[in-house]
Each structure stands twice: as structure tokens, then as C-alpha cells.
């Protein structure tokens, strides 16, 4: 009898140890996948935050720029920079033939003309002098410099010619190639040229979208939650509404995209590809998330607080607004932020309402066309150029950083403002 009991006890302990082991291995697996994922993203993406520059001497020859020796600001604005830009590149190899000159030109981005222009606009006294100017290297040379380019491929399978590589290597040897922090990744809009592509448009697009989403979804959801939880009679109709709100939360996001396309664009003729439409579409998705969070946190307010207020002669409205809602706010807000974080990462509905269009301007308002961060990842991931590979990962890093900050904020709100009641 006693022995039996001992066996049983040991069996129970073994079961517990086994169960712990299962739990620990599950956590280990999750952490492993997460680490691999993060490592992959970082190792591919970190180089996108560096940008390669060629340092090229430019002779600001007034004659070639078709201006006089003491030009006004307007003259400088309208001057012709293409010829001196071309000449500066061609001068890298004195013996270059026409084809080689063309190849030299393609070693830098097509912005080179503008970069030279900015240089002289900042310092008009350069007229007639020669100065070394930083020019953005083409995306392929950028990759060569970062060591990501397969130089040993046969020449006809490469986009960089042997001649370009030779000149580039000479420049590197002379210390005329430099890698600097890639500010333009954050300040430029999208571009077909990887070396000039940035996330400014999609970042602003995302910000505008979630602002529109917040401004629509938050008030509607909170009012709906307060009404349903504090005022609505509990009957079949409100049960029906509750079930449907929960169903709405489970609807695939692409369906909301179709709704945006069919209603907002087709019927109301709102401007296509804009954060306004994107935000409205996302707000439909976020609405049930916030309603559910707000209702849960209203439910969590102890009834004794409501009774206390009612017994003091507060009206139902006063009880709700003075006591219940303020107490439920931390939960509601953190639910809202989590809903917004979901909306921020949403891609499918935005593709349907046209936010996938190529936008090379930075939006100044929700009414301007824009992309959004996840859509930008999708667009770049589809592009063939080698330079976009690291940009995809870099954009994912920005998006993840954004999401982590938002979730952290939700946690802080929850911990800081959670009131303890007896």
C-alpha cells in the first residue's frame, strides 16, 4: 500500500518535470526562430544605412555653365550643369573613348548633376575653380564597395563592366571612394534607382494613415464600447451586435481592402493611393480591436465603484464619465495602440486601394498619394536590382522599430496608469 503511494507520487513528479521540459523547449524554439529572423534581417539590412560616395574633382567653368563670372542667384539656378558634370566624370580617364565616357557617367547616380549644382549654390565663389565633390555612386558600385557584388562573374552577366571596375578600383586606391551614413534613405522618397531610394514617402504615408485611422477608429470604438457596456439593455439585439463585432475582428484584411476599393474609391470618389483612404480602410479593421479592448477594460472596473457613484446621486452619465471611463482608459489606450500597430503592419488592403503605386514625392497631407512602410517592403522585394535587397531588410528594421516603440508605449501606459482598487 505504502509502496504504491510512493510510486504514484513519483509518477506525478515525473509528469510535472516532463511538462516543464515541454514548456521550456517550446520557449527555446520560439526564441531560436526569432533570433534567426532578427539576425537575418540585421545582417542583410545594416549595410543599407551606409552609402558609397565617389569623390570627383569638378571644374566649375563659367563658360561651360553658360554664365558670366559674377552670376546672380537666378543665373546659378538656371545654369547648365550637365556639361560640367559629364566632363568631370569623363576626366577620370583622360584616354576614354565615347563609349567609355558613357560608362564613366553611369558610375554615379543620375542625381550627379543636381549634387554639383547644390555644391555651387551653397558656395557661389567656386566659379572658375576646381573642387572635389561627393557624388552618389551607382547602386551596383555601392554593392561592389560593400562587398556584396559577385565580381568574378563573366562580364556579360554583370551590370558593371570591367572598365568601370578598373576605374573604380583606381579611385578606391586613391582614397576617392568613401562610405558615409545614408541620410537620403530617410529623406528621399522612393526611386527606381536603388542608390536614391528612400523611405520618406512611405514613412510619412504610414504616419498619416495611422493618424487618420486613430482619429476615426478611436472615438467611434470608444463610444460604441461605452454604450454597449454601460447603457445598452442586455437583450438579443445587443448579443447579436456583440457576436458581429467579434466576427468583424476575424475578417481577413483584404476584404476590408475590397470594401475600401468598392465604396470609398468607386462610390465616394476619394483620391486614390492616399493615406486618407488607407486610414479609413484601416480604421474599419482597427474598430473591432479597440471596441473589444475597451469593453474588456470597462468590464474590469469593479461594480462597487459604479455603485458608490450612483449611491452618491451621480447620474448614469456622470458615473460613466467621472469614474468608469477614466478607470478603463489605460486598458483602452493600450488596446488602441496594439490595434494601430496591427494597422501599421497591414499590407493587403493598402495594395487594393492603390497605395502600391510608385510614388516619388513625399506627401505633405493625407490627401497626397503615398506608399506605406509594409507596402514599400513589398515593392522593393519585387525589384530586381541588387541594391534593393538590403533596402528591404532596412525598411523591415524601421517598421519593426516603429512597432516595438508602439508596443512598448502600450505597456508603459498599462503599467503606469493602472490604478489599484481595494
Amino acid at each position: 500500500m505504502n509502496k504504491n503511494k510512493e510510486q504514484l507520487l513519483n509518477k506525478r513528479y515525473r509528469a510535472e518535470r516532463r511538462f516543464r521540459l515541454y514548456g521550456q523547449s517550446a520557449i527555446f524554439m520560439a526564441l531560436l526562430f526569432l533570433t534567426i529572423f532578427i539576425f537575418k534581417i540585421f545582417s542583410t539590412g545594416y549595410s543599407a544605412f551606409q552609402k558609397t560616395w565617389l569623390i570627383v574633382p569638378v571644374n566649375f567653368d563659367a563658360e561651360m555653365m553658360m554664365i558670366d563670372q559674377n552670376p546672380s542667384k537666378e543665373d546659378l539656378q538656371d545654369a547648365d550643369y550637365y556639361d560640367i558634370a559629364l566632363k568631370s566624370m569623363a576626366d577620370l580617364d583622360q584616354n576614354a573613348n565615347d563609349d567609355q565616357k558613357n560608362q564613366l557617367k553611369r558610375m554615379v547616380s543620375y542625381f550627379f548633376e543636381k549634387e554639383i549644382k547644390n555644391e555651387i549654390l551653397n558656395n557661389p565663389s567656386l566659379i572658375g575653380k576646381t573642387k572635389e565633390v561627393y557624388l552618389t555612386a551607382s547602386d551596383d558600385l555601392d554593392q561592389v564597395f560593400k562587398g556584396n557584388y559577385p565580381r568574378d562573374l563573366p562580364e556579360d552577366q554583370r551590370r558593371v563592366s570591367d572598365y568601370q571596375l578598373k576605374i573604380f578600383d583606381q579611385l578606391v586606391a586613391k582614397g576617392k571612394v568613401e562610405s558615409k551614413f545614408n541620410i537620403s534613405f530617410f529623406t528621399y522618397a522612393d526611386s527606381r534607382e536603388a542608390e536614391l531610394a528612400g523611405i520618406a514617402s512611405s514613412f510619412m504615408g504610414s504616419i498619416f494613415s495611422i493618424l487618420v485611422c486613430l482619429m476615426i477608429a478611436f472615438p467611434v470604438a470608444v463610444l460604441a464600447a461605452i454604450y454597449l457596456e454601460e447603457f445598452a439593455p442586455k437583450n438579443r439585439f445587443t448579443d447579436f451586435i456583440e457576436v458581429n463585432i467579434n466576427n468583424l475582428a476575424a475578417v481577413p484584411s483584404i476584404v476590408f481592402g475590397l470594401l475600401g476599393l468598392g465604396v470609398l474609391l468607386a462610390i465616394f470618389h476619394l483620391p486614390r493611393s492616399t493615406p486618407l483612404v488607407g486610414g479609413i480602410t484601416l480604421s474599419l479593421m482597427t474598430l473591432p480591436t479597440i471596441i473589444i479592448a475597451a469593453r474588456a477594460s470597462l468590464k474590469a472596473v469593479p461594480p462597487s465603484i459604479r455603485e458608490a457613484a450612483l449611491a452618491m446621486g451621480a447620474s448614469r452619465m456622470q458615473t460613466t464619465m467621472h469614474h468608469t471611463v477614466p478607470l478603463s482608459m489605460p486598458g483602452t489606450l493600450s488596446g488602441t495602440i496594439i490595434g494601430l500597430a496591427q494597422a501599421l503592419g497591414e499590407t493587403a488592403p493598402l495594395i487594393l486601394i492603390g497605395m502600391v503605386a510608385f510614388v516619388n514625392t513625399i506627401p505633405g497631407s493625407p490627401m497626397d498619394p503615398a506608399a506605406s512602410l509594409p507596402v514599400q517592403i513589398y515593392i522593393w522585394a519585387e525589384s530586381a536590382e541588387r541594391g534593393f535587397v538590403e533596402k528591404v531588410s532596412a525598411c523591415i528594421m524601421v517598421l519593426l522599430g516603429f512597432l516595438i516603440i508602439m508596443n512598448l508605449f502600450a505597456q508603459i501606459i498599462r503599467h503606469k496608469f493602472e490604478k489599484k482598487w481595494s
Binding site: P233, R306, A309, L310, A311, M312, G313, A314, W421, S422
Partner: protein
Amino acid sequence: MIKIKAKDVDVFYGKKQALYNIGLDIEENQVTALIGPSGCGKSTFLRCLNRMNDVIDICRVKGEILINDFNINDKSCDVVRLREKIGMVFQKPNPFPKTVYENISYGPTIHGMAQSKQEMDEIVETSLKKAALWEEVKDRLHEPGTGLSGGQQQRLCIARAISVRPEVILMDEPCSALDPIATAQIEELIDELKKEHTIIIVTHSMAQAARVSQNTGFFHLGHLIEHGSTDKIFKNPDNTKTQDYITGRFG
């Protein structure tokens, strides 16, 4: 003088009847205790007096409850006004998760009883003094009320109830969550408060009912079995059920 007159009060929770034909007179400026075993309907009756049962969707109240000869179950009765006149203290201390000061000032604020900050300060001070809490909290008026001890919290709730100078105070087992010392303090307080307020207290403790009340009503299974002066109920009850309950034979 009779303050509250209940006539033929029936209460239903959905289809289940919780109170049958309650008729009870409550004397002004006295303490009336309602006693009886758990689930007998004494708290339900108490909550009829300030219409707190309105909060429960399935609850229906029938019959007349006259307070100052006005039927509070009448459609013309405004519950907000009613609850200003009839304060309530609950079983578990339930201060608002705000400061001590805000707990007291809430009622006077929503009923517009103070014109200035100074008047409000006075109301807060007198309410806390009446609740015998002033000395303990005068230096921590702006700290959270939930940080006080259980007994202090309950006295804070009493102070909150009297801040709007109600005519009647309903107490629903106010000491059941407190230790004997805090209980004694509250009982003393009740004795003091009855000079200005009519008090109705629901209690599980027979000793407490005997100590604090002048009148007692005994409830059993939704019926008011017997009511009268506390002396009579405890020493010479008419009904054998009352006798059995008082002597501890059931309940």
C-alpha cells in the same frame, strides 16, 4: 416620528420573488437594524430604499415606499434627487481610486453644494470630523483614499455619504469586512450620526444589532417575520422563528 413607510413591497428577480409583502415603518433619527439569515432579502429591501435595484436589469419592485410621505417608486421620483437625500454605505469599503479629498468632495461637487474652494474645504473637514476620521487623515488629504486601512476606508465611505447631508443613511453590513476595533469605532460613529440622520443598518451580527439599534426587523425567506423595538425583539419576541434565530438555533 415616522420617516419611511414601506407598504406591500414585493421584489422580483426575473421570475423569482425575493420579497413578499413587506410593510415596515422606520422612525426618524433612530437606528433600525435589519437582521436575518443570508439570502433572506434584507439587503434587497435596503436597496429598495434608494432604488439601487434599478441598476439590476431583471429586478422589479412593486408596492409603495413613502419617504416624507412621497412615494419613491412613483414615476415622478427622480433617482438622482432621491440618492442625494438617502446616502448609502456598502459592505466592502469602496472609496473611489482618488484622493481622500476628492472622495469627499465628489458628492457636493455634482450636486453643486459649494460655491467656493473654501466652502468645499469646510464640507470636507466637517464630513471627515463627523466620521471621526479627520485626525487620522488631515495630513494626507491629497493621498489616495485606497491607501488607507480597511476601517479608515469604511469611515471615509461614511464621510463621503454624509458629505451631501442626507436625511437617511443606509448601511449594508458596514462592518463585515472589518476587525473588532474598527467595528467598535464604526458602531460609536453610528450612535453619533443618528442625532442628525435616520439610519438603517443591515447586519449579520446579532450583538451588533442589539448594541446599535433602537428598532429591529427580522427577515426570513423574503418575509418580514417580526419588527419592533430592539429590546422587545431580543428579549421577548412574539414569533418562535425570531426566537430561534436570536438564540442561534438556526441561521
